[in-house]
């Protein structure tokens, strides 16, 4: 009895001493979608921030994949208990921007007196996440697709490395199969719409939608049924029919078909560096995505990945914490560390310079490909990025139509016509819902 009382007294004593220290730290939540190795790295990043100062604590909460995080934050917002920060994928940009639920990041940082060197962000990154020249969300995990290949397969088939153009690459892949080096020249990535259609359009300077791919207004319409995308889909179909390209299908990831040495090449995000370095039993290399032989010079690719959005409805102290954390994220040191730890690109030129200076790319040459590819040439209207409302929905409609080509139900031209038609209906719905929002957001950010 006595011991118990003493214990309770001691407990209260500890709490009484601990409480002031606890109360002094402002706690904010950050919901994210990183899992596995990436999730561990993200937690390390947050710990670094928490240890670097004694005023704020960021709590990172894994909420599942991007879709689940989005749904989680929507539900929380509707219940009036949103987190302070949330990581949202690139396709959700317009939904978040016009949601009326966010505080634009640049506005917050200005208000809190942080000087961020915004023009220093790598162009495709900056243009993707900014609206009317001002950053709406803090770029966090930016990636771009690159071309991975099995060095041994190419050597056995008599090639130094993959060719630069789709035409020559096709000849190489057919040769690899014909010579019996590998049954599977390439494996279709799960997000082929991103790498092989959207980024393909950017690199080859093909318009995807009107009004500069949506950058100039909500009235944008898809036009990729009138561009090289149609012949790209036809090419994929031909490769599939000839067994040069394989679909991994459900229950098995395309990446495994590459890392196990079954498929000779693989188009995938630079962010898979961590996984491939760990899992690959093959001698792998990586290079730039191929381009069409009549396109010279090829343009930059565009980004994928996520950014950190700040949500409305919190107290000023909490926004102090958020601003401090975002400032930490934007620091070149943080960027370089994150780049090395994950394979995502450094978001600023300064960070990229720092990594170069330290000779990081001498040991990790493939990590530089994404940065070089993203900042290659001068971005055109076709390569700045994509700004379509309901972009997940239009993408799924497009994927269904491309699959109809793969199954042989539709010809590429017809499928792309149908995809554009369906996509435009979805865009009109977004436009209808957000009619008048364009100028409203404009006024707010100015």
């Amino acid at each position: 009895m006595n011991r118990k009382t003493a214990f309770i007294a001691a407990l209260f004593g500890v709490l009484a001493f601990a409480a002031p220290a606890q109360a002094a730290r402002v706690e904010v939540q950050w919901w994210h979608a990183m899992s596995g190795v990436l999730g561990d790295r993200l937690n390390e990043l947050v710990e670094k921030f928490n240890a670097s100062q004694d005023k704020y604590t960021v709590v990172a909460v894994a909420k599942g994949n991007y879709d689940e995080v989005t749904n989680g934050v929507i539900a929380a917002y509707r219940a009036k208990r949103p987190p302070e920060m949330v990581q949202i994928a690139e396709r959700g940009y317009m939904t978040m921007l016009l949601s009326g639920a966010i505080v634009p990041v640049q506005e917050l940082m200005d208000q809190k007196g942080y000087k961020i060197d915004w023009p220093d962000f790598i162009k495709p990154v900056a243009s993707f996440w900014s609206y009317k020249g001002r950053m709406s969300a803090m770029p966090f995990n930016s990636s771009t697709p690159i071309f991975w290949y099995n060095k041994e397969h190419f050597r056995k088939a008599g090639f130094d490395k993959p060719a630069d153009t789709w035409q020559e690459l096709e000849a190489q892949l057919y040769a690899i199969k014909a010579k019996g080096v590998s049954e599977c020249g390439s494996v279709l990535p799960g997000d082929f719409y991103w790498s092989l259609l959207e980024n393909y359009s950017a690199i080859n300077n093909q318009p995807y939608g009107t009004l500069a791919n949506g950058f100039d207004g909500l009235g944008t319409e898809f036009v990729y049924n009138k561009t090289k995308v149609v012949s790209q889909v036809a090419r994929l179909k031909k490769w599939l029919d000839d067994g040069v390209l394989q679909i991994a299908g459900q229950g098995f990831s395309p990446e495994q078909l590459f890392t196990s040495g079954r498929c000779s090449t693989f188009v995938n995000s630079t962010a898979s560096h961590g996984n491939i370095e760990r899992n690959a039993k093959i001698e792998w290399g990586a290079t730039f995505l191929p381009h069409e032989n009549d396109v010279n010079p090829p343009l930059n690719s565009t980004i994928g990945g996520g950014a950190i959005w700040v949500l409305k409805g919190h107290t000023p102290e909490r926004y102090d914490a958020v601003a401090a954390f975002l400032d930490f994220v934007a620091q070149p040191e943080t960027q370089v560390w994150w780049h090395g730890a994950t394979g995502y690109v450094p978001a600023t030129n300064k960070a990229y310079g720092l990594a170069r200076e330290r000779g990081y790319y001498k040991d990790h040459p493939t990590r530089e490909i994404a940065v070089l590819q993203l900042s290659r040439g001068t971005p055109s209207e076709n390569s700045r990025g994509f700004r379509f409302g309901n972009f997940v929905q239009t993408m799924l409609a497009q994927r269904t139509e491309v699959e109809a080509v793969f199954t042989g139900q539709k010809q590429p031209q017809q499928a792309m016509d149908d995809a554009v038609k369906r996509g435009n209906e979805i865009l009109r719905q977004f436009e209808k819902l957000n009619a008048g929002k364009d100028t409203e957001a404009d006024g707010k950010s100015k």
Binding site: N71, R78, L98, I247, G251, V392, T407
Partner: protein
Amino acid sequence: MNAGSPIVLSEASAAPVAQPSGLTRTQHAPPGGAVVGRGAMPPRPGRAQTTKRGRPDREPGLKRANFGHGPGLPTLLLLPQFLILVFFFFIPSLRALMQSVLLSDPFGNNVQFVWFDNFKALFANGEYRQSIVTTLWFTVAQNVITLAVGVVLAFATDRVVRARSVYRTVILLPYAIAPAIAGILWAFLFNPVVGPLAHMLHALGIGWDPNRNPSDALWLVIMAASWKHICYNYIFLAVGLLAVPASLMEAAAVDGAGPIRRFFLIALPMLGPTVFFLAVMNFIYGFFETFAIIDAVTHGGPAGATNILVYKVYVDGFVNLDLGSSAAQSVLLMSFALICTLLQFRYFDHKVNYGV
């Protein structure tokens, strides 16, 4: 049909043994629910007769509990169930109804009332019509396969003597596996690149490829969904078979009927209520509970070939964030399920022999 048999157990004594059919009766039979004999074709006189002979009248206290006076205790006892219904059925249904006539952004800051635009858009949408057809194929095929295999397994384990409980346990195992896991399992086994069963099919000269062949994909999800649900059917059918009076079977055996003949002429008709109940439950399962399997096995593809209604509701609502359309779809889906169930009752219920 066997009402004339002198050794038929009385209803009251059959009920506790025949759990599942008893369940059927209380859940789905008309009030007072029992002996609608096969001969009693016009349902109304049959039902009147039932009420007259209903057990409560004969054996007061057996079914109707005595709660004393006043509505207090019964209300209290009903409350949990009522609250569950309110929070998990009525409120969500109402919200779905309301959402189905709105165009709204996911955060709910921007809402427009659009009358029935969401419904109109659905019926004008070829993809949605395709989804209805796919759902019907999927559900009917799944229903037939599940019942058929369930009946065969129940019959088989009823006949084996040695290690019967081992067989039963093994058959019941899939029920303990989460649908998503089951889906991944099937997807992997039949993956055309790495799946061992797919390789067997290839070796047999079958060009199996659910990634590029819509009907292969549809079959794959039908098989996976059925496999997952056979155990459920099996439990009810196995117990139902136990309730078939041994004396009847023996009599038939003495008369020279073989096991197959006995099964089709005696056991199966007596399983009628169970089969009917399971058919309804399988429809509901196919309509509502299969989305995890679809998600794991095909993602609704290729080209929408396995995009059944409930999966489309999920994708449009939780991936595409098109809440209005998703709500309209769930309202329609609920109506379809209701119509199907009512039709089943309308056309099959009075053909089922509830008497033993």
